[in-house]
Structure formats: C-alpha cells, structure tokens
C-alpha cells in the first residue's frame, strides 16, 4: 500500500478551508496515518447471541430451581425446600454474573463501533469549554473538518482498543468461566437427583394411597387369568368373566383419578428431566462458545454460534412447557 506524503502547508490549507474536497483531503490523510500506525482495523465478532444465550441460561436455572422447589413442597419436604432455595440462590447469582459479564463484552464491542461518535461528543464538550473560557475558535467549518477527521481516526483507534480489550477480558475470565461451568454442571446433576427423588417419593405416596384398591384390581385380573388358562371353559366360567368385567368397570371411579395423577407425575418428571438435560447442554454450549469467542478474537475469524442458538431455542421451549404444567 502506497502512502502519499503531504506538506505542512497543504495540511494547514486544508484545515482553513471549508470545502468538501479539502475535508476529504484531511480525512484521507489521517485515515492513511491511522492505517499505517494501527496496521489495519480488527473486525469484532457479534456478542449478541452470547448475551441472549446467557440470559436464556439464567432463565433455565431459575426454572430448574422452581421445579425442584415445587416437587419438594409437593411431598411436604418444606425444610429441604428451604435449604435448596437458599443454595440455589447462589447458582442464580452465578448466572447473573454470567449475564453481566456477557453484557460487558457486548458493551466493549459496541464501544469499538461507536468510536467516531464518542470522539464527536468529546469535541462538542471541548467546544463548550473553549466557549466558557472565552477562547476564540476558528471558523465553524474548520472546527467541523478537524472534528470529522479526528472522529474518523478515533473510530479506527476505538475498534483496535475494543478488540484488545475484548481479547483481554475473554482471556482473563476464561479460568473462572470454566470452573463455573464445571461446578454448575455438577449442581444441575444434584438438582435433578433431588427433583427425581422427590418425584419418586410422590409416586410412593400415590401407590400407598391406592394400595388396597390396586390389590383388589389385581385379584380380579388374577381370577380372569385363571379362567383364561383353563383348557375348556364352562358356562359358569363365562358367567364369572362377565361378572369380573362388571367388577373391573366399577373400579373406574377411583382408577381414573389415580391414573390421571400418575400421568401428571410422569409428565412432570419427563419435562423436568428434559429441562435439566437442556440446561446442562446449554451450559456446555455456552462455555464452548466462550472459548471459541476468545480464539476468534485472537485469530480474527468468525464465531460459530449455531449450537448456542439451538440450545437457546430448546431451553425457551422447555421453559414454556414447564410453566404450562
């Protein structure tokens, strides 16, 4: 790349001038200087999917805590529910930190993209100061040209500063992020075990509640099976089978509510287990995306957020399902 050389006189002339041509001259000169000094400008990856995934992961952790709490309350384990709530709040705070951290990364990227605007704001503030002090400023057009040129150059500088700041932030946070991901993976396992155990206890209560009725129903089925096993059925056997049908039909009054409760328990268990599995998957996708992001900033390549976006969608759907139960 060839750089033109400009004389001081040319530069002064440009600063005094208000024409668009001269403005472009100064901009061109300063852009060339910026490119020479900064060695090209870094393009920053989009952090938006990462921020969205952090926020969604937080929702999944909150929803996971709520399903465990509801299951413990359902079996009357209030003390355990209180202990779990206290401990889970620590996990929710950890996800708050993940959200704050990802928002801060996004803020760095945004600051890199808004460099020219920031420089213009400072220029406005300096103009205000000069006016307050009573300094006679050059003509407005000249000030505008200098401001434009300086904003343009700072735009490039801001992008490079943002790239460096982003890289540093990602590098510094990686050890903590990795440890949080490992710990929270174990925590989700623990929460799921508590949830499943409470669900099994609820099932035990249900089975005990209908124990006598269930035994009666099984005895009717035993009697039917005994008749079916006979090589030759008599008319008395046929009569007995009809009677067994009627008796079994009469169990519908308690059997249907029992089966409905069993289905509800099974549906809760299935949805809860899927939520925990999804949250674990999302956590893994999140920490891998974080590593990928760090590598992308170092190497200047794009970040693949497909897995992260997919995990966000899955969690969103599961949380809705849990809330509907």
């Amino acid at each position: 790349m060839a750089y033109r050389e400009y004389s001081f006189d040319q530069l002064q002339l440009a600063l005094r001038s208000s024409s668009a041509t001269q403005r472009n001259f100064v901009r061109g000169l300063l852009a060339s200087l910026a490119a020479l000094i900064l060695g090209g400008c870094a393009s920053l990856p989009s952090i938006a999917p990462f921020v969205e995934a952090s926020s969604q992961y937080r929702s999944a952790v909150v929803a996971s805590g709520a399903v465990v709490d509801a299951e413990l309350i359902d079996i009357g384990a209030k003390e355990e529910a209180a202990t779990f709530g206290k401990e889970w709040a620590v996990r929710v705070r950890a996800t708050d930190a993940l959200v704050s951290y990802s928002q801060a990364l996004e803020s760095i990227v945004a600051s890199g993209a808004q460099g020219a605007q920031s420089a213009r704001s400072v220029a406005d503030a300096v103009t205000g100061l000069a006016s307050a002090v009573g300094v006679a400023l050059p003509p407005a057009a000249t000030v505008g040209t200098v401001t434009d040129a300086a904003s343009f150059v700072y735009g490039q500088i801001a992008a490079v500063r943002a790239s460096a700041a982003l890289g540093e932030a990602l590098r510094n946070a990686t050890p903590a992020i990795d440890r949080i991901a490992t710990t929270m993976g174990l925590d989700l396992n623990s929460a799921q075990d508590i949830f499943d155990a409470a669900n099994v206890q609820a099932k035990t209560s249900l089975v005990k509640k209908y124990n006598a009725e269930s035994a009666y129903l099984e005895s009717l089925r035993d009697a039917r099976l005994a008749i079916y096993r006979k090589p030759v059925r008599t008319s008395a056997d046929e009569e007995r089978l009809l009677q067994l049908d009627r008796l079994e039909e009469s169990t519908r009054s308690w059997r249907e509510p029992k089966e409905a409760q069993e289905r509800a328990l099974a549906a809760r268990r299935k949805a809860g287990d899927q939520l925990f599995a999804s949250a674990r998957g999302a956590l893994t996708a999140w920490s891998l995306a974080h590593r990928d992001l760090a590598f992308a900033v170092e190497s200047g390549r794009k970040v693949d957020v497909t897995a992260l976006v997919a995990s966000v969608e899955e969690m969103r759907g599961l949380i809705k399902r849990i809330q509907a139960l």
């Binding site: 990364l105 307050a132 409470a198």
Partner: protein
C-alpha cells in the same frame, strides 16, 4: 413376563421384598445413582402388585414404602449437602466473574471516552462558576458573593471527583439534576444562585 408373575403367598412376597432390600443396600453402598432410582421404582411396583391385602402383606407393603422413601430421602440429603459444599467456591467464582465484568465495562467506558467527556464537562461547569464568582466580586454584594463562593467550591470539588478515579458518581449525578428539581434534603442550607446579580 414380569418379575411379579408367579409370586404366591406371604412367603413368596416376603422373599421378593428381601431381594429388593438387598439390592437397595448394594445401591447405597456402591453410590450407584441409577440403581438407587431403579430399586425405588421397583419397591413402588411391589406395593401395587403384592396381594392379597392381608395384614401380613400390608406390613410388607409398609416396609417397602418406608424403604423407597428412605432411599430417596438419602439421595435428597446427600445432594443438598453436595450443593452446600460447592456454594462457597461458586460464590467466590461469581465474585471473580463480577470483577471481570466490571473491568470489561470500565474498558468499554474508557473506549467511549466517557471520563474524558465527564472531566471536560465538569471543567466547563467550574469555569462557569468561576465567571459567576468574578461577577459577584464586581457586584460587592456579600450575600451573592457568599453563595457564589460556595458554588465555586462545590464545582471545584466536582472537578476533583471527576479527575480522580475514585470519584463518587452520586455526588456528580446530584449536581447534574436541575437545582429546582432537587428535594429540600439534598439542597444546601445556603442556596447557590447561578443567576447573575441584578446590578453590576
């Protein structure tokens, strides 16, 4: 064919329960999560399948229910203890990450030249206060002069805060609020007037 087929009489059900309880003990001893849940589910099935409902069978059912509940309660207690044991480390990591987030946010502010803009704006306000002070000196009005001195001191303090890294944002933001909008509690006892004296 299910595992419940062919079991007959109290003795048959007692033997089956003994087998399940043995498996439960092994699952607890081996810390085998899947085996624990598996046995608990089978104990539930035992309760539903055991028959007829004689007092002996009911006693076996009670034993099966108690064992299933105890197995699951132990799982709940162990996992709650595991969560508690990891909380301190997680809280420490959270603090560390919050600190990293603060640093990153500060970097973004620095790139946005926020502090430079703040300092210049505060400096501008200080200069304005200085101009008012000069005008008050010219007016020879002790009341106006006193208010102006106070205002000037406040502005200089603002400037100092803005320049120092440990600036108190609350103090700066309070000054950014129009004076008329401030509550009596936040107003100074002697109001600082920013209007120029009537006579010069």
């Amino acid at each position: 064919m299910s595992e419940w087929d062919g079991i007959e009489g109290v003795a048959g059900w007692r033997d089956k329960l003994a087998q399940l309880l043995d498996e439960a003990k092994r699952a607890v001893k081996n810390q085998d999560r899947d085996a624990r849940f598996g046995v608990a589910e089978r104990l539930n099935e035992f309760i539903a399948m055991s028959r007829p409902q004689t007092p002996e069978i009911q006693r076996l059912d009670d034993l099966a229910a108690g064992s299933a509940v105890a197995l699951m309660q132990q799982t709940i207690d162990e996992q709650l203890a595991a969560l508690t044991a990891r909380s301190a480390e997680l809280a420490k990591l959270t603090k560390e990450l919050n600190s990293q987030a603060d640093t990153a946010a500060a970097s973004a502010e620095s790139i946005r030249l926020t502090r430079v803009r703040e300092v210049v704006s505060t400096l501008t306000r200080s200069v304005e206060a200085l101009n008012e002070f000069r005008a008050a000196l010219d007016a020879h009005d002790p009341a106006t002069l006193g208010a102006s001195v106070e205002d000037l001191l406040g502005r200089i303090q603002d400037l100092r805060n803005a320049i120092e890294l440990g600036a108190a944002p609350a103090a700066r933001s309070a000054r950014a609020v129009p004076r008329s909008a401030r509550s009596p509690r936040t107003s100074k006892p002697a109001p600082r007037r920013r209007t120029k004296p009537a006579s010069r």
